[in-house]
Amino acid sequence: MNEESSKAEKFLELFNKGKEFTEELLRENQRLRFRLAAMETEHGSREEVDRLRAEIQQLTDENRRIAMRFKEVEEENKDFAHRYIEIEEQNNNLANLYVASYQLHSTLDFREVITIVQEIVINLIGAESFAILLLDEKTNELKAIASEGEDVMPGVDTVSARLGDGILGQVAKTGESYYINQDVEGSGTIALDRPLAAVPLKIKEHVIGLIVIYRLLQQKDSFSAVDYELFSLLAAHAATAIFSSKLYSQSERKLNTIQSFLDLLTTN
């Protein structure tokens, strides 16, 4: 990044030098024209006039060449500036993705993992109202285990669906994400069973739940490119984190039960 920046600065320096040189040439050109005119009026020698004419021609050509080079360098600089912005954006997006994945795998506590998923959805995606649903494999029902924004989307805390039924059920069944562009469709059509986005939480092809987004923050018009990257990341990493933390809590519980049982046996 610094290299790009210093290259851009070098180009700027080069422009300024080119500009100064061009201005100097123009002044020289002007001076020679005056001199030529003066000599012509003074009936100066033909050879001197021709020499000065040739010099003017040479300077004019050089001036044209420098102006062209100046344009080329200016284009290059614009290109560098665009690339700099693109790289800066990529850096920003990578930072978000890094932090999101780092956070997701930083704990084995189930509630903490859910809180982290909520934080990512609020802080990095910019959702105002959403729910995290988990699939109960015994009943094939998706049930909300966490939510935000009940004030703007009443019922978001109790949203549920059967596997295969409606948009949510279909997303869970097929494992394919569902999106509506809020700009195009308008938020008026959003309902509990027709969200803005529904992202399956998948471990390989096995869906364990969904993240369902109903509304974005007031200052955010629509999903951006990095949001879709974050959704992909959430689909895989959040699912693994949720699943492993759940397994961990279950094994902890089992371990405690066995430990208590053993304690009971040894004390008797």
Binding site: E88, E89, N91, N92, A95, N96, Y98, V99, Y102, Q103, E119, I122, N123, L124, I125, G126, E128, L217, Q218, Q219, K220
Partner: protein, 111 residues
Amino acid sequence: MRQLISFSLKRFKNAKIIEAVDGVDALKKLSGPEKIDLILTDINMPVMDGLKLVSLVRQNAQLKAIPIIIITTEGAEEDRERGLALGANAYISKPIQSSHLIKTISELLAV
């Protein structure tokens, strides 16, 4: 959010980050021995919210010169105006864009 901010602040090589869990904790840490150059606060915090914190910092003779950036989900213009009127130097709405955050901090600290 704190992790994302901490990660973004790694760009500032010599920055030391002191985290606080809410407004009261922040005030305690601001009154401690460490010299604080910049405050980054959310509005929605338990115990004491970010707006109250901004207002108390601005009333404190020792702390009032510290630049404050509010980072929040509240993106309405009136929220922004309210935050700035209380004395915040900048107001950043979520979702967080680390490049924007870095630019704002660099401008406030002139680094």
